[in-house]
Amino acid sequence: MKAISIQNISKSYKDTKALDCVSLEVGRGQLFGLIGPDGAGKSTLFRILTTLLLADEGEAFVDGLHIEKDYREIRKRVGYMPGRFSLYQDLSVEENLSFFATIFGTTIDENYDLIKDIYVQIEPFKKRLAGKLSGGMKQKLALSCALIHKPSVLFLDEPTTGVDAVSRKEFWDMLKSLKEKNIAILVSTPYMDEATLCDKIALIQEGKILKIDEPEAMMAQFERPLFAVKTNSTYQLLNHLRLQSFTHSVLPFGECLHLVTTETLSPESIQEQLRLQGFIDVVVSKIRAGIEDVFLDLSHKAGNHA
């Protein structure tokens, strides 16, 4: 029995289709990432799985329980951390945690070993009001509260959004240690670089699943040659590359451009050609595709089909 099993779930809000025939499965002890930009439908899927929303079509099972018929039982078993910080800001760290422990019929002491790794980091501030914590600490507290009743499935909706880089790394380390305790985790994030930290990921855009696979496999399957192109006149080069016959797609990636070509070329030959065309400082190197490249490539294809 899978921890989460989703079959052809669709959901619309008035005219907009938030989810379009989504299917996926998450195994026990698996860290599953739902990767997609804002508005892709991630939060809607979370709310459907946590029984807060009803799907228009399709079925889903969480821990073997039907999301509509067995909603009461599901609510006892899952841990849910909504996208927005949703704890009581006027209660202290300790008061928040003990409140959530109590309403789930347990105590902090009973499940302390489960949250220990996370909670020790915020324990020095346990008398501080939750509203006065930093973003990273808020998320650690929220995770502690979602874990305190030893859920079998954990739903984390964008837990690292708005959190600094160091805290983000710590947070993912914690998730890794959690899955060793055989808790299935479904986590969503708009940050593509976090995808590689998951066991398996689903790329989602505009309510449609683009692809589901292990992140390594997904990157390895990227067939076309990919180059990072660096120059000081990025914008001019972007426009220039778009016109070249060998260009499949070119997109800005931070400081440089990622160029996908239709034919196999050596970085040196591209560099040479561009220098001749007036981009004196250009540096071209061949790179391995990241999840973001895969995502953009897939969403490009999906866009072309539509």
């Binding site: 946590t50 029984t51 909504p82 910080f85 959530f100 789930f104």
Partner: protein, 369 residues
């Protein structure tokens, strides 16, 4: 189950005690309201300035003017010389009433022929003007009685009136029940609808729903502290009324407290009902202020008598819980009646409570939509 409930109540008390705004509404408002209504908003008056236009200028008119002042209600500001000066005082707002005594006042008065005294008041403040005229009429009558005491007119009808239950016409007798009704409504209905809306607004409702808590427990846990606090408030207002404004409690205290408790329930169920129809605190605030506070203040018979309203407003007034509660309070506190005299009002409040609870039950969403 009880442990969970207590944890919820404790959490709610933390919210209340740590929020200055809630605390102010909870404890500052009742006190301010009682004192404002008690000391400022009253129909009684003392030392009203009046002008006199005395055409008679004889002994009897002098006695009459002195008699008017003897009660402490009126002070003669100015004795006017001619009719032309009558409006000046009123225009400047210095005087509220002018008494004009005719030339042959003394003769007519003693000969028994009809005497007329002209009274002119400032109608821009009709309530006040009416009260002044009433007082003046009363004073004139008593003047007539004392003067004619030696030779009672065998044909005159003497009206002996007595205000039962409130002999001094003290306005505290009206505002204490009214204030209790208002305060309980504000605290129970407004604060509970606000606190439930707040959970929705900050997103904690989402987490509470994805937990083993049943909707009933969530609601009970949220309203129990407010029920307790507002009941305490009602007792404080009754005590202030009793000790500071001398408003008696003639009926049974147990019955009175029981009635307060019933009304707390009605107001709470109303607050819960409001909270099921709103998404944000602002919405909850608007609905409870406009939909509850205003009508309860204006249409419950607290400030304006229900019977003198246009039929439409009268019927709206009959839909307001405060209307019935004020009647109950006046009955029990001032007239000292027992339960059998207020059965109808109690029945209406019970029905309303049940109705609101049923509506909330139907409206409560176990999901987000």
């Amino acid at each position: 189950m009880f442990k969970v409930f207590m944890a919820f109540v404790r959490k709610e008390f933390y919210h209340i005690l740590r929020d200055k705004r809630t605390l102010l509404i909870l404890f500052g408002m009742p006190l301010a309201q009682v004192l404002i209504f008690g000391y400022a908003v009253t129909n009684e008056f003392k030392d009203a300035r009046i002008d006199v236009l005395d055409y008679a200028k004889d002994e009897t008119s002098e006695q009459y003017i002195n008699h008017l002042q003897s009660s402490g209600n009126f002070i003669v500001r100015k004795v006017l010389a001619s009719q032309k000066d009558m409006e000046a005082g009123m225009k400047s707002g210095k005087t509220k009433l002018v008494v004009s005594i005719p030339e042959n006042f003394s003769e007519d008065f003693y000969s028994g022929s009809p005497t007329q005294i002209q009274v002119i008041t400032d109608g821009s403040d009709p309530n006040n003007a009416n009260t002044l005229v009433q007082y003046l009429t009363e004073m004139t009558r008593s003047f007539q009685r004392t003067k004619r005491n030696e030779s009672p007119n065998p044909y005159s009808i003497h009206v002996a009136s007595r205000m039962l239950y409130n002999p001094q016409l003290a306005s505290a007798y009206n505002f204490v029940p009214g204030t209790i009704a208002l305060i309980l409504l504000i605290i129970c209905a407004m604060l509970t609808s606000l606190t439930i809306a707040k959970e929705k607004e900050i997103g904690t409702m989402e987490i509470l729903l994805v937990s083993p808590l049943s909707p009933l427990l969530i609601i009970l846990g949220k309203v129990a502290p407010y029920a307790l606090l507002s009941f305490g408030n009602a007792v404080i207002v009754i005590l202030i009324g009793f000790f500071v404004f001398d408003v008696p409690v003639l009926g049974s205290t147990v019955l009175l407290l029981g009635m307060c408790f019933l009304y707390v329930f009605t107001a709470l169920s109303l607050g819960i009902f409001i909270s099921t129809t709103v998404k944000t605190q602002q919405e909850a605030m608007m609905k409870s202020l406009m939909g509850l506070m205003m009508p309860s203040m204006l249409l419950s018979g607290f400030i304006f008598p229900l019977a003198s309203m246009p039929t439409v407003l009268e019927y709206i007034g009959k839909l307001i819980p405060a209307t019935y509660f004020i009647r109950i309070l006046k009955g029990v506190m001032l007239r000292g009646v027992g339960l059998n005299f207020i059965l109808f009002e109690v029945g209406v409040l019970l029905m309303m409570t049940l109705g609101f609870l049923l509506l909330s039950w139907r409206n409560f969403k176990i999901r987000l939509e």
